[in-house]
Assembly symmetry: D3
Homo-oligomer: 243 residues x 6
């Protein structure tokens, strides 16, 4: 399982958590990356604040009755071992291969992940004990809830490997941001510049929303023509006032 | 893009908004139309009141990298132009071809649609900036939320053309009604008679619900036999009293 | 349509309703049954209490225009007749064959099922009049809401036959338990022993959750090694104190 | 399991086997039946002649490990018993619920069905031992081939019940016709009139094909206008000559 | 319905038909176009030669019982009219919205398309009368065969509009090439340069295949390093001999 | 990437190649393994002989535009490197995550795999240059053909890791057998005993097929009752004569 990836600074993580995933996905698109947003995982509780963190990956594979055993839970290479090896501050990402009939984690393992400092969990499959997970004050992105444990339909393959989740590739160390629009994966090498430009994009969109609130047409405004850019420049120079 | 379709009277629109989509779909079934209810689009906020309006259509097609460009946003034939061409009072319907990985609209364009008098938006794909859209006090039917903009996976084809949405054909001018059970499409030519008979059907079902509340069996009641019809007639004549 | 199956005692039903479906599915897995949890049906209102009951089945088949008629509603063999034949205390299970474009039940029939003593309804398809069903104070597991009645896309085949629902086989008389994690099917012959062992499993998991809350690692704890088992034994003997 | 349905005469079966399923599905559409053709089952060998026969149904349900056992093969209620109870001349139809991971029949049981006089088998799932089945000189419609036996993913529910197959309802005794375009289900009550009108339809289409071969436009020809109908009448009266 | 698009020269069409769709899709990828190959449509007869032609589009929408009528076949705006309006040499592309339960064309209309000079038909849905179509000596790409006519599940929307087919956008006039690997869509503006570079790419791959046949490793060969490029240059200069 | 797994003897591989995948999947089921047969991969040419070999795995992940580049083809960690590292006699298995829009291999790489001694390739996605692959005299199991190269929709993750393919987990060194019924995965630890018992099972089924050919009922024969077992014993002792 791979080398520890480089860490992104807390300042950049905070910056990324301050902008919407919609904005981040536009910044990635501008850099030629269209396939960066997971399709499937949804927030268990959409009112929780946006989270950002570097990926810590868990990889599952289809059921194999000789491997998907109760005994496997206590063996080396188990999910338990992966959880105890996780550094704090990580965004746990689980490749469930889209399997909807078994849950990769329940309330006990998620409580432990939280205790170990995970900032969130995202999976393209469901979780179990979801009512109890709601009570844990923890951020979860999944496809819903189902009762059976992972070994009913999956077997655990390892951790900190590159994985797929929700149709997107995740490399350990990639930066993940999740909000009500879902989870976006930012390649680590792009994270700093994306953070910077996303903050600027949201400043402009605040200007646009105020203009629309004031009755402006979207044509020439969004995307902006010369006149809009000039007006925006003035607005910036005058201290970004309410319009 | 097609001729402006005929307008339905405000009275008929109001009548249609007063009856459930379940009732309307039964009235269409009685006229031989089984395939009139969208499968997929769900209300973003199920507590909002039912809406009715005539269809204003937007048509998207699959990603084509030479067409799905940032530049396309500002060109003639863009979504922006379609929005600015929309008359007030319309129910915007979007053919997303079921694509779940990109959003056709975000908070800025929906704010503008609202400003231009749209009564609702329905799409068989997701939206973006959904947290912000919740704050807009606007009725939305979609398949959820996802961060990327439309050009990540779609290209815009035009407006006020016939489209498919949620497995149903929509012709500009058709009457759409949406509530927690989803969105029903009523061919314009049938809208007046469907409105009239739906109101009468709901009157009868109010009678049935009261009977069931009073312990009656459904056999002979719903659908009604002769005795039930007679009792209903009496109930009508006595001023539709609580039972 | 089959003989009336044997009844499970109220005590065992109560015991089953006291433990989570996640726990029950683990007990079934320990008995070699992996495929016992429905995939698809979700609670309409996740805050309602867990329910348990023996299965009363309704079987639907695909649309056949010569059979799926308005007249069929009033004929022998209709859903109405099936509802009026149901004993009290049953968990109604509906095989919708996964059809998402028509609803098998609406508010009127569900009101009657409730009046006849049904404890819940589960289906792998949607319902209609869902806003009204919310007001009925009744437990429903379904795949959502859609306006059209069953005959728009289905025909009714019969009741109290073996069926499939959500990828699981249900035999009339099987015991169903449903909560936020979904619906689990327990073969009647296993219900008593599963109930007993599930209660014991939850006692152990309460101990585990407290340990994790106190900072314990999951390795050696869950599943337990010798030391954990000894500590658990002591905890039991000392009256299961808060840790 | 249901009463023996009425038999269709050999003459009508022969008539139905003489016309294409495309023609038959048009005749059903003219009678308001759109949903009569299976989607999924394809001929194993497309060069075999068209077959027609009355439905003999087998019904499978999802895997249930307590029921889907090796022992179940030898118990009352098994597929074996269903096969030995089948009258000759039947078109066996299998409800596999679309399961693609297990085969409902292999070469041994199909050899026995052939020996007992079955005219064909259709299923919305795969078969096993397909190489051997090719050698049996028997007509099979399925979704392909897969190695595992039925009990790997299914359990057998019974025979001569109403079923669904390929999205269509089949009642024992319905008349099935299968060719390269797939399998069409004709309600028994309609079989005689559909046979008669289908033969006439194909006569007209032979005329149309010759006209097209001779360079005619399809407008006014197919569907025919007055002039075409008159020309057709003349062609009939002159003995249906080559054109 | 749109203006007649510009014509590509017969020489370029011939060049495009001389190279594989695999090669063409690589040339498009090099120009930033990943989404140009249809997923779904397969050749009815894989032994027919590769075909190239400019797109002539037909657009279908979901079933609408008030529009999908037998009478619609003879009305203005029908498929018949679209067929009679087609110029010769076109590659007909049909947007079936992936509907697998109805056929957009049968043997009669395909015979007429062939008579009018169409080079091929591609659709993301099935055809009917497939046995008869095999006898017509015509190139067809589809998802298979099914008996019902289009109006069983679709309604016709128009022709020569932009459409989607197999997950790809097609604009009338785009150049389509189809072989056993399926159908690739080349934007008209790129067709000439893609044709030129594809021919050159295949020349290099012929060299590579010979090297591999002679036992070479793929590393450094494909893609080529400096040494391979030099050897290739020599091979070209020596007249492309067998190796 | 994992240690080289142990080798199975050529005798056992030959034995496994002598029995059908249907028989092997029954032997695995008898050992509690239901999920061992791939769903999806089909033989390109069903007339080729059955093959058996130990798994050599390639793992792909979803498209990531910063990784799925033309340049990646020539970098360390590429598919090319994986191919050149493969020992002879292996059955190459490719985890394509079910992606149908891009091909993991084309004729050039398959020609090289053949040259390096691979016995077969299986993937749950399509291949490209399929017409050319047919000419290579090589055994391929895939989901069909599509023109684009892997980097159009996938990125390569590595080799000789555990993977999923067609819904089944494959560990490097597992024994794969493929014929017209598809590909079965046998855990290496079970391969010898499965081989032995499968040969015996096929001997018994030859006896059964002859009995059925002679008109026997399947009840009591397959599975066998006491009388059948005795008759089989006699048949064995008399030298397995034709019946």
């Amino acid at each position: 399982m791979s080398d520890t990836p480089e860490d992104l600074s807390p300042e950049h993580l905070e910056q990324l958590a301050s902008v919407s995933t919609a904005t981040l996905s536009m910044q990635l698109l501008k850099r030629g990356i269209r396939n960066a947003s997971m399709v499937g995982p949804r927030p268990l509780d959409r009112t929780r604040p946006r989270v950002a963190g570097q990926a810590y990956t868990l990889r599952f594979l289809p059921l194999r009755e000789d491997l998907s055993t109760l005994e496997s839970y206590a063996k080396p290479g188990s999910v338990r071992q992966a959880i105890e090896a996780m550094p704090p501050g990580r965004f746990v990402v689980i490749d469930s291969r889209g399997e909807q009939g078994a849950a990769t984690l329940g309330d006990i393992l998620i409580a432990r992940l939280k205790a170990r400092g995970a900032v969130a969990v995202a999976s393209d499959g469901p979780m179990r004990d979801v009512a109890e997970i709601r009570a844990l004050d923890f951020t979860l992105f999944s496809t819903g809830a189902v009762a059976p444990p992972s070994i009913a339909r999956l077997c655990f393959a390892g951790w900190q490997e590159s994985i797929g989740c929700g149709g997107v590739t995740v490399i350990p160390g990639d930066v993940l941001v999740g909000d009500e629009d879902g989870v976006v994966v930012i390649p680590l090498a792009l994270a700093e510049e994306v953070a910077r430009d996303a903050v600027e994009q949201e400043r402009f969109e605040r200007f646009v929303q105020m203009k629309i609130g004031a009755g402006a047409s979207v044509e020439g405004l969004y995307p902006p023509n010369e006149a809009t850019l000039a007006a925006y420049q003035t607005w910036l120079e005058t201290g970004e006032p309410e319009i």
